[in-house]
Symmetry: C2
Subunit: 308 residues, 2 copies
């Protein structure tokens, strides 16, 4: 008799992964570590070949990858990229079969996610939108938070696959709701960054010991992931990206487009989006999203540093 | 031989506490529990008499209270209130002696704190500015986070007194710096509230299950004290105050005044202050500061609720 655990272990599932960027590559490595048979595809083939040396198959196209896979993960850029690799020429849709599951883990517009899911559904291919939070660090450590939209029974079938790359998997609702949740997440991430930035520039401009202020704020009602993880980096002037300004801006643009469709005013998010624009204008596009503080520093004519 | 511990136990110190409001009353009770001899003064005498039944002495004026105390705590409203009870007619300054320590735990302007400290210093009375974070809950449980400005050796002398009402005590810097830190704290508190509010109204307007969205956001880079503690209250439509809108506004007004003196633009804080004004206009002045979400709800023509 086969136990429940084995029935849902994902054993024997062949996985395809499209997009080996800053997030996709470590996710591919975690899938290999978990013992899945993995086929990869990347626009720049050299990155796929790095994975080949670790045991992955390399496909020549998304179509070829799809014909070799039971579950296909896409981790690419924006809505048009996802549309292209799934629905375009030589795309996933040409190789997938009835019962194949496509999991798009990119962050795209909720409406685009619903449209692509509907197009795949015509051929009996099921799709989940499953964007992630946790950045490169979460991808490397396999601790991503995954927000899932789509059919709950499909999620249960592929849960072992998602468990190989993430830690918290939350089924939010129907198709597109994973993306809605991710955008809500990015609203909070952006504004928490602004909260930290304004608190630190204020303390600095008033002549306070910013390291002590940061410590005090972490101890109470002002606390946030941003204050804990990014605050110390600001004091050390370490702007290496956990999550790049350019990607934060891409996500906030998706938020503002969605908010326009919903006729929902989001004044704080709009402000944050504009301030990140100033950060981009100064050439800090590829720094971490805590570089938002630099927009406030420029306006205040100062630079937040550790006192020591 | 007396141990170090006893030398700094605060034993024998007579404490005076002025201001028995939502914060001052539980602090007085914690001082009594810790075994301190306590004298209290409150503008409305009835509240002082409640403490009398628990063992406190009641003074007829701040002056009388000061003449009976080694350490005087003030926990009143705004800068003018603190100035009045300390420097006004029948004020603390008329009863205090050389070596008396005044600890102002109200949130007031950093400049006012420095001026009052200087006025007391002329007569050999030392003052610390020691505003707190943690709200009524922190005051009741004795777990306040206390941000201290002033002489570090004076802080060490009165540390046992502060330990009776708080948990985290951080010496930020010279006189006024406790208030600077508190205002930085309030900047972050206000904007973290805005982050949560915009994320939740977005999820609601897009038709998502807000309880699941909240859960997912708490698990990643969007997380904050606000999301953890206040988020569930919003979904339950529980707007009982931990920290009242009217007090949040008082503190943000202090921030904006200080920022003007510093010539520091704080666009996010200014926006938050304006949105709280809308909350006040609708009569929610005495609700908790998470009622900020209602300003966003009005603009978006919706109400964030738990899906169940």
């Amino acid at each position: 008799m086969v136990s429940d655990k084995n029935e849902n272990s994902g054993a024997g599932m062949r996985i395809g992964l499209i997009g080996l960027g800053i997030m996709g590559k470590p996710m591919a490595e975690n899938l290999l570590k978990a013992g899945f048979a993995l086929t990869v595809y990347n626009r720049t083939r050299a990155r796929a070949e790095q994975l080949q040396r670790k045991g992955a198959q390399v496909a020549a196209s998304p179509k070829e990858l799809a014909s070799d896979s039971d579950v296909i993960i896409t981790m690419v850029g924006n809505s048009p990229d996802v549309r292209s690799v799934i629905l375009g020429a030589d795309g996933v849709i040409e190789g997938a079969r009835v019962g194949t599951v496509v999991i798009d883990m990119s962050t795209i517009a909720p409406g685009a996610a619903r449209e692509i899911a509907a197009a795949l559904g015509v051929g009996g291919v099921q799709m989940l939108d499953a964007p992630v939070s946790g950045g490169e660090k979460g991808a490397l450590e396999g601790t991503l938070s995954i927000m899932v939209g789509g059919d709950a029974t499909v999620l249960e079938r592929v849960r072992p696959v998602l468990m190989a790359v993430g830690k918290t998997i939350t089924h939010i609702g129907a198709s597109g709701m994973g993306q809605v949740c991710k955008l809500a997440n990015q609203i909070a991430v952006g504004l928490n960054n602004l909260a930290m930035s304004e608190a630190l520039v204020f303390a600095m401009k008033a002549g306070a010991d910013t390291a002590k202020v940061l410590q005090a704020l972490q101890g109470g009602a002002a606390n946030s992931w941003a204050l804990q993880v990014l605050g110390p980096k600001i004091l050390q002037r370490d702007f290496a990206p956990g999550f790049m300004v350019s990607l934060q801006q891409k996500d906030l643009r998706l938020v503002m487009e969605e908010a326009e469709d919903l006729r929902l005013p989001l004044p704080g998010t709009a402000l944050t989006h504009e301030l990140y624009r100033a950060v981009q204008n100064h050439g800090w596009e590829s720094e971490g999203n805590h570089a938002l503080v630099k927009a406030l520093e420029i306006m205040g004519d100062l630079e937040v540093k550790c006192s020591e």
